[in-house]
């Protein structure tokens, strides 16, 4: 995760709608994230944070509107779009329980044309502290370890954008400290980070910007003057 510079990439949401039947999970969401920013998405459960992250990761196709990544230049990444897709960490690990940690990472590395996939997998396992469990099937992992393998999978292709759905879930204080440090390093290397959080924590201190969602719409943004604190603690004095 260290000692390299990522091509700066931002995100632009233009009038994004996501409708499920009659229910709008996202309504005309429009804002832009500058390359290298560390942004917190705040909001209650059901406010649309997860849906917005899934749209940003391109897993979910918006009903209307446009998503773009200003600044991303495939030529700069060696022509194979290596840093192309955002890295995405969700509530589930998105890896195969029956395969070992190493097999999973090598598999995802190969799919994304990562050079020297085995070495890269080893490197990440070391970074997330799972190197001595490399040959264990993921189904034997604890909650904290599952979070870490999910992070490793998301970072395997050195993404220039990282999307993180509630990063602190399932981690103990040591884990949270480690994660905060890792995210700090990534951000320093130029990775744009967007994460959804419930409230303040060591991780939220990394944020330079916050956007609050309510019922699928953007209701507050530090860019328009609101304070980071107030957005994270909405409703609390």
């Amino acid at each position: 995760m260290n000692s390299f510079k990522l091509p700066p990439t931002g995100l632009r949401f233009e009038k994004i709608d996501k409708r499920y039947g009659g229910l709008y999970a996202l309504r005309r969401v429009t804002f832009e994230i500058a390359p290298g920013e560390c942004v917190v998405l705040a909001g209650r459960n059901g406010s649309g944070k997860t849906t917005l992250l899934r749209v940003a990761s391109q897993i979910v196709r918006p009903t209307a509107g446009k998503l773009s990544f200003p600044g991303r230049d495939t030529a700069a990444t060696g022509g194979n779009g290596l840093h192309g897709r955002p890295g995405y960490v969700a509530h589930t690990t998105m890896v195969y329980d029956e395969l070992t940690a190493e097999e999973n990472l090598v598999f995802f590395a190969k799919l994304q044309n990562v050079e020297q996939p085995v070495e890269r997998a080893g490197e990440l396992l070391r970074e997330v502290g799972l190197i001595d469990r490399r040959t264990s099937p993921v189904r034997t992992f604890s909650r904290g370890m599952r979070q870490r393998i999910a992070i490793a999978r998301a970072l395997i292709h050195r993404p220039s954008v990282l999307l993180f759905d509630e990063p602190a879930t399932g981690l103990d204080p040591t884990g949270i400290a480690w994660l905060a440090n890792s995210l700090r390093e990534l951000n320093k290397a130029g990775c744009t980070i967007v994460m959804s959080l419930h409230g303040e924590s060591e991780i939220s201190t990394l944020a330079t910007r916050a956007v609050r969602l309510d019922a699928g719409a953007v209701v507050d943004d530090t860019n328009s003057g609101a304070s980071l604190r107030s957005i994270l603690n909405f409703g609390v004095a």
């Binding site: 196709r61 998105m94 799919l111």
Partner: protein, 225 residues
């Protein structure tokens, strides 16, 4: 293009590795086909002439039923931990996901069928050795057709309710042409004077091509969220 095949190969490797570790799909499918073939033999008097005429049809029907069960976990298991999303994020062309699964499913069906062939030959007194190469051809083309349609429909049924009943319901009428053509070719090959039904083989190839193309054109929508 190269990435498509490379990705498909990587994905196919994963499918095979997962299956050979647990072997649960293969064993249950083989046992199921065996049961159906034996049960069928109780429903008519298996004199050699009748066996030659009805046997192949019953065999293919058994394969069809087995496939409609075997294909259910295909996309269902990707719902565990939402691995379908990570696959979609990782591959540049979603068709690779389908190619790999079609390849794996065809292989599993073929292995099942080849294991069943000697048992079928013994139970129904039908010779399979003389025309074995051609039998393998029709088994391959038929299984490919079953896999292509089955994998596509499995992606659909995984997103609906009552998926265990739904997949056979969607798949069996759709595979009628494969059942008819494969049976005809197999009957010809198991006849007293074996013959190769070129029309049937060509027809199966056309079926496979039509549905592979449809899967290529519409696959990404099957996986869409």
């Amino acid at each position: 293009m190269a990435t498509l095949f490379a990705n498909s190969a990587t994905l196919l490797g994963k499918e095979l590795r997962t299956e050979f570790r647990s072997r649960e799909l293969l064993t249950t499918t083989i046992v199921f086909v065996l049961m159906v073939v034996v049960l069928f033999s109780f429903t008519f008097d298996p004199s050699t002439a009748e066996s030659r005429r009805f046997g192949p049809g019953l065999l293919w029907l058994a394969f069809l039923f087995a496939a409609s069960l075997m294909l259910q976990p295909c996309f269902l298991r990707e719902q565990n931990n939402d691995t379908l999303s990570s696959l979609r994020l990782a591959v540049s062309d979603p068709f690779a996901i389908f190619l790999a699964k079609v390849g794996a499913n065809t292989l599993f069906l073929l292995v099942t069928e080849l294991l069943m062939l000697p048992i079928f030959a013994v139970l129904y007194n039908v010779p399979v050795l003389p025309e074995l190469p051609w039998l393998i051809v029709v088994l391959f083309l038929g299984s490919l057709g079953i896999s292509v349609a089955g994998t596509a429909l499995s992606a659909i049924s995984a997103q609906a309710r009552m998926r265990e009943l739904l997949l056979p319901l969607l798949l069996l009428p759709l595979l009628t042409p494969v059942l008819v053509a494969s049976t005809e070719v197999t009957v010809g090959l198991m006849d007293r004077e074996p013959s190769v039904q070129w029309k049937g083989i060509g027809f199966l190839a056309v079926f496979d091509l039509v549905f592979l193309t449809a899967l290529w054109l519409f696959g990404e929508y099957l996986l869409e969220e």
